[in-house]
Amino acid sequence: MASIGKIARRTFLIGSAAIAGGVAFGVWRYKTPYDNPLESDLAEGEAALTPYVKIDANGVTLITPRADKGQGAYHVQAALIAEELDVDLDQIRVDPGPPDRAYWNTALSAEAADFMSPGEGVMNRLAGGAADAMMKFIGLQITGGSTTVPDGFTKLRQAGASARETLKLAASEQTGTPVAQLTTKSGQVILPDGTALPFTELAAIAATLDPVQDVALRDPSQWRYIGKPMQRLDIVAKSTGTQDYGIDAHVPGMVHATVLLNPAQTGSLRDYDATDALNMRGVKAVLPITGGLGIVADNTWRAFQAAQAIKAEWGPAPFPADMQDHWKRLSDSFTDGAQDSRKRDDGDVEAALTGDVIEAEYRAPYLAHAPLEPISAIVRVDDDAVEVWTGTQIPRFIQANIARITGVDADKVTVHVLMMGGSFGHRLEDEVVKQATEIAMQMKGTPVKLTYSREEDMMHDFPRQIAMARARGKVEGGKVTALDLGIAMPSVMASQMGRQSLSAPGPDSQIVAGAWDQPFAIPNKRVTGYRAEGLAPISSWRSVGASSNGFFYNAALDELIHAAGADPLQERLRLCDDDRARKVLEAVAEMSSWDGPTPSEGKGRGVALTYSFGVHCAEVVEVTNTPDGIRIDTVWTAAEVGTVVDPVNFENLVQGGVIFALGHAMNCEITYTDGVADQWNFDSYPGMRLNQVPQIEIRGLENGDTVHGIGEPPVPPAAPALAGAIFAATGTRLREMPFNKFVDFV
């Protein structure tokens, strides 16, 4: 093993450790001279290993700490390791690994830098970026923000490369053949005479060697996996019903539970009568928990039925009862006192906005995440240990929360991260685990499987933010010359972090995300964020702030371009001040053979570009105005991601992102009446179904020098491109989502 003195100056260093019958390779974390909280549980000079590769007699296991909610994360992470390790993807197993602070997500902290601004005690003591340190401090083994690929792109390949070279060194020691004469292939070291030594047989020797460091990563021209179409590791299981998800997990002796929560999100339980429920077949208990009741039975359906038989009296919602007051809180927030940020103030907006000023107001509703798998968790509480099985993006938070609820030490809380049937941000929350824990504490030693009904899941989702924008602008000489955009919304970071007992000091960059940093050089441009208080609790929804702001910014820009008499795509190109963004716009122009917003009678086209999560993504939407309503015919999408790691998954994620965005922009909203969500199931919240799905052409551009994820960037530009197309086809300007309040879709 490497000594600590040798490694102290490195960014990260590959280490190894002997395990039963083999070796593990990974990244060392170590105690350093400054106070790095990541290592606070280590004594000076001690080190701990975060394994990414484990090799023993049973084979090669790749550790993929970013959770898989359907985006192919396990597959991509495994491919990055395998690219350098020289194993075939059908030779390996993947394991999401245990929750561990060392699996911190460096890419997400860069995105979150603004809301975690310095100023709080512990962070001021830290060298380096405050937000980065904060992320280490709370140990965010988080999957989110399209960060899986950027976070792992170098780290995972380096782990694979060092493991490969160390295995060659082991083969050299065993056979006396110089390392330079050894090659590797398909999980084996190959000797000059063709003899193949399996990695599994070299593992024990490798464990005794100093891991080989600073191995040059392979040139992209040598890549076998990255950039090539690959068969996803989970594709056979997911096509044969043999993929188990969290909701399918079974622990011996478990009982089936559900919850009946105050229909008004986060409201209290005042009184209840469970007499009828307790007399129903299979019902074992009705137990009070925070905000409602846990119903325990011997079958999920029996628990659901019993929940319906309970009479309960509930407290009021701790937010406005009706939508009129939600919108009023937003419209009342455009004040100096509620200003959260003004990250953009170019030229002289006040001076420019005189004379014929164009003004408009835009709205975006609350939206549910509604992944198709309802949330669930199994929890068993014992006197001195807790075990959890659940699909989650935040295993470290779950450990901490269960420790707080039960009094059991966090390191005695075992979290098994299971495959997720979608998330879109839903599984960045852990209420279901907290509730299962509260139930399990009342029946110690029994594993409690808590499954939400669809209705409980949708009513008690923490939705996407509601938001409102006000735009003022000016055009002169056929050009857009001024845009003043104010955006009011509640702070998603304050709401989400608040549920984790964390403060989010400073401005929330999500309030202006997808708007303040767009690549258009309008001479007078100002973007101001306003924080609305007292609204319904909210959470991160696929593309977060940009999901509403991409619409606001592009819709306002479209109105100004129209007033200027310019072409929506050509004027965006003229204003564009970023080469990568320009190439993305040029790509969709070429793909769609762009020739103006009205290609023929009855058809309309719109275009939008949003820069979010480090990615410029542009979309052109074409619609036909039929006698029965608007039909979306084709969407052309281009995105600049630096490197497309897996072209198949890339296409699937971009197409899915476009469909997700269009379906919600057209058909979905969450509204509240008397503090209760009006939408409980997919009959009133349909998303998009197959009959509405357009042709979707995609192109990934690889001009940047970094690598970006693609889960979220296709979402923000879809709604404004659709609104632009509908305007071109019908003359109707849509300023509020969902659009089906104003036009019919076929």
């Binding site: 044969t240 909701i247 079958n299 659901f304 799905v693 042709q695």
Partner: protein, 152 residues
């Protein structure tokens, strides 16, 4: 009561009105069939009864009128049904949670209509929700499966 599922007879002791979905999942531990909505709005629970696609969340246990086939009985990783093979070829799944239901619906469609038009596919498959938005690949996979079944 007695149920035949994937060729095996099972004796179950459940309420007459327990939906087939929950008999399969919680009593028989057959988990390829999924719960998504409980009100026939998502199609994740689609199974075949005597070859016909039905929403198992809407079929009471006492009303099951024939042999039940779930995704596990349609084909296995070692012996794929043509629809499953097409789903793998096109790498349809993202999260995959809806795909059991999508595949069972598509298999039923192709059994009735070996050469469906685009409109036929839209009509038959629009009751099956996919929140990840894999619809473009679903369309392509149904066409590939139809072609392969016709050539078989």
């Amino acid at each position: 009561m007695e149920l035949t599922v994937n060729g095996h007879k099972h004796e179950v002791d459940v309420e007459d009105d327990m939906p087939l979905l929950w008999v399969l999942r919680d009593e028989l531990k057959i988990s390829g069939v999924k719960y998504g909505c409980g009100i026939a709005q998502c199609g994740a629970c689609t199974v075949h009864i005597d070859g016909e696609a039905v929403r198992s969340c809407q079929v009471a246990a006492a009303d099951v009128w024939g042999a039940v086939t779930t995704i596990e009985g349609l084909g296995t990783p070692d012996a794929l049904h043509a629809v499953q093979a097409a789903w793998i070829e096109h790498q349809v799944a993202q999260c995959g949670y809806c795909q059991s239901g999508q595949i069972m619906q598509a298999a039923s469609l192709l059994a009735e209509n070996p050469a469906p038009s685009d409109a036929d596919i839209d009509d038959a498959m629009s009751g099956n929700l996919c929140r990840c938005g894999t619809y473009s690949r679903i369309r392509a996979a149904v066409k590939t499966a139809a072609k392969n079944l016709q050539e078989a």
